[in-house]
């Protein structure tokens, strides 16, 4: 009887020690779920979700504080991916958060006064310029977040939808009638 109790206790202690040691040794830094969510988000850093960037939104979703339908730049597909990742039902966008066509900002260089306010607002450093010098958008890096629009005192920034050209053109989904129409 005593031997059995001692044996069981010894096993419990050893296993407990192993678990305790592994918890320290194999500790995962950060929140892996938030990382996965962040990987799905489009990284426009636009703040349309109400959080100051994609990473804070990912953290909020991971902590169960935010819904998955708050990211218009991600589109319906982004919701699908988040739903799949989190194992929940996809939800439609709210009426105030509808996806827009992908755009890049454009600075009208004749109007720009070189105030640097947009440079300070750009979350991805996609505007180059200096005080009292004309500013310009680095189109390849612009995420189309529109955060540079409100600070501009002379309204010289506009959003231009990305036009289809030979390099970004995609084959369309084939549409055909299953039966000839008469």
């Amino acid at each position: 009887m005593l031997a059995a109790l001692l044996a069981m206790s010894a096993i419990a202690i050893v296993l407990g020690a192993v678990l305790g040691y592994s918890a320290i040794k194999f500790r995962v830094e950060g929140n892996p779920l938030a990382d996965k969510i962040d990987a799905v988000l489009p990284q426009t850093q636009c703040g349309q979700c109400g959080y100051p960037g994609c990473r804070p939104y990912a953290d909020a979703i991971a902590n169960g504080e935010a819904d998955i339908n708050l990211c218009p730049p991600g589109g319906e597909e982004g919701i699908q991916k988040l739903a799949e990742l989190l194992g929940v039902e996809p939800k439609p966008f709210g009426s105030d958060a509808q996806p827009k066509p992908k755009s890049v900002a454009f600075i009208d260089e004749n109007t720009c006064i070189g105030c640097t306010l947009c440079i300070q607002a750009c979350p991805v450093d996609a505007i180059s310029g200096a005080a009292k010098q004309m500013h310009t958008i680095i189109a390849a890096e612009c995420t189309g977040c529109e955060l540079c629009l409100p600070p501009c005192p002379v309204d010289c920034i506009s959003m231009l939808p990305i036009e289809e050209n030979v390099t970004n053109w995609k084959w369309k989904y084939p549409v055909f009638a299953l039966r000839p129409s008469k």
């Binding site: 990284q43 850093q45 991805v124 030979v166 084959w171 009638a177 299953l178």
Partner: protein
């Protein structure tokens, strides 16, 4: 004669090659206007280096390669650049692309042509020469040839054992390679020898389908005349044996593994027309300016033409006289070609064939029916895929699944759609899925870059804040350190203050003395009335001063 191997599937569509091989290759007269696109190759468009109004010579470089996968573009004839800008091109989208419009001066003045002695030139220089000469694969993919001759993925180029020259030309209607081999076999073989030399390959196999006996005979004669250890292999006619991977399988029995390149198994493959261009490039010093193209289908005079790149298709078609019931044109063959958006577009390096379409030759396909999962497409697929599953996943937009079913091993040959009893346009689904997946990969890359930039910005702002705080703290520390110092040096400081005060007093005294010495000039030689006035004013001012003094000082007391 080495033993031949087989690949799975394949189809036997009617070849329709006899129509366009009855007459020799014709050289098209100089058109009145050429439109030269800067993107005639796989990869990035060339950068224009000429301006509107410039006079260019035949063979002059007008577009420099930009990026790793890119190639050069040259003026196909001498003349003036009219404009540079977007122009409709032969692209399935019908969208315009950047082109140079060249008005020929009719003189055909060449640049100075420099032949290259390839045997005594480093291979790296030869590759650069191919790149700047705009040599790209003419089989249809227009992949820059210099990259195919480069050691990639850690392989040394010496690993290439077999060079294959692809003269299979398996697609129906197209005969441009056939006619090239018949008429210019010597140069094709010489080009093959240059490519063999650059790769250091030991063996050269020239694969030609057995429905081209004249081409096989001409090539064998050229090989014998050149006394080269090449082997011209007649392969069974079976679509798509002209696809690089399938031809490699047929000739060597080796299979290119999924996601790998032929060089990974020691084989490299070039089209015969590419070999011909390579020979012209090194022996004559001519960059790629023209190509041989088949015009066939619903035309009165089907034949092959040697045409300058940039020639408007309408000019070319006019020489073959399309019949009145023509309802459109295909660029490429009937299996893999795409409809031309208009005949206003220019001929490019990828244009191997133009087919006039009529209802009689190409009847509208019967209505599409649902997939019955008969599996005939899988039997026909030369890439050993399961087209019915790929179709299913592409239709459901389940792109992850299409990739796990190896969608990117699909060569879009169309054999599956050809045998499909339900007439489903399968290849369209695969193209759709492939371009969606590519777009997603691009988006993913852009998102990763944006994340990195955003994180760096946050880091930078944090760092700036920290630095500012540190500076502030350092200032405070300095101020604190300065305080006890002032009490220590108090006597000297007060000495300095006393010194300063004395200096100021001295200066004031000096100023007073000066003003006392200086007599105002307007006070001399005055009349008695004026002096009386002055005395009166002075008295008044003195009174006011007294009043002011008492007023100001009164509240003080």
């Amino acid at each position: 004669m080495s033993a031949l191997f087989k690949f799975n599937g394949g189809v036997h569509p009617p070849t329709h090659k006899a129509e366009s091989t009855t007459t020799p290759i014709a050289v098209l007269p100089l058109p009145t206007r050429l439109v030269v696109p800067f993107r005639q190759h796989a990869g990035d468009a060339a950068t224009p280096i000429v301006k509107p109004g410039d006079h260019v010579l035949k063979g002059q470089l007008i577009g420099e390669p930009q990026g790793f996968v890119s190639s050069a573009v040259h003026a196909p004839t001498s003349g003036f650049i009219e404009s540079i800008g977007p122009h409709p091109v032969a692209h399935p989208s019908g969208l315009p692309d950047i082109c140079a419009v060249l008005i020929p001066d009719g003189k055909e003045t060449w640049i100075e042509k420099v032949a290259v002695d390839y045997r005594n030139t480093p291979v790296a220089e030869l590759r650069d020469h191919l790149r700047i000469s705009g040599i790209v694969g003419l089989g249809g993919a227009t992949f820059p040839s210099d990259i195919k001759l480069r050691p990639l993925r850690g392989h040394s180029i010496q690993n290439i054992e077999v060079l294959i020259l692809n003269g299979a030309e398996c697609e129906p209607y197209i005969t441009c390679d056939d006619m090239l081999m018949r008429e210019r076999a010597t140069e094709v073989v010489r080009g093959g020898e240059i490519l063999r030399f650059m790769l250091g390959a030991g063996k050269v196999l020239i694969g030609i389908e057995d429905n081209k006996p004249e081409a096989i005979a001409a090539m064998r004669a050229a090989v014998a005349a050149g006394n080269l250890p090449f082997e011209v292999v007649s392969i069974p006619t079976l679509y798509p044996s002209g696809s690089a991977k399938q031809l490699i399988r047929v000739l060597t029995g080796r299979e290119v593994p999924s996601g790998q390149l032929p060089t990974d198994i020691g084989v490299q493959c070039f089209n015969v027309a590419t070999a011909y261009s390579v020979a012209r490039c090194f022996e004559q010093g001519e960059p790629m300016l023209s190509r041989i193209v088949t015009v066939t289908g619903n035309v009165t005079q089907p034949r092959n033409y040697e045409v300058l790149l940039g020639t408007p298709i309408a000019d070319l078609l006019a020489h073959s006289q399309p019949k009145t019931d023509t309802r459109g044109y295909l660029m490429g063959g009937p299996m893999m070609g795409t409809p031309l958006p208009s005949t206003d577009v220019p001929l490019v390096k990828a244009s191997n064939c133009f087919i006039a379409i009529s209802d009689a030759l190409f009847p509208a396909p019967p209505a599409t029916l649902p997939c019955i999962r008969c599996g005939r497409c899988a039997e026909a697929c030369p890439a050993d895929l399961q087209p019915m599953d790929l179709y299913w996943f592409a239709r459901a937009k389940d792109f992850g699944k299409t990739q796990s079913y190896h969608l990117f091993d699909c060569i879009e040959c169309g054999a599956c759609a050809y045998v499909c009893p339900s007439h489903i346009p399968l290849v369209q689904y695969y193209r759709f899925a492939k371009s969606e997946i590519r777009a997603r990969e691009q988006d993913k890359l852009a998102a990763d870059r944006a994340r990195e930039r955003h994180e760096y910005r946050e880091f930078r702002m944090e760092r700036e804040k920290r630095e500012k705080e540190e500076k502030l703290r350092a200032k405070e520390r300095a101020a604190q350190a300065a305080k006890p110092a002032t009490s220590d040096e108090a006597p000297t400081a007060s000495d300095a203050a006393a010194e300063a005060r004395r200096k100021i007093q001295d200066a004031l005294a000096q100023a007073k003395a000066q003003s006392a010495e200086a007599q105002p000039r307007n006070t001399e030689n005055l009349t008695p009335e004026q002096q009386a006035d002055i005395a009166e004013i002075e008295a008044r001012r003195a009174r006011i001063r007294e009043l002011a003094k008492s007023d100001v000082e009164a509240p003080k007391e």
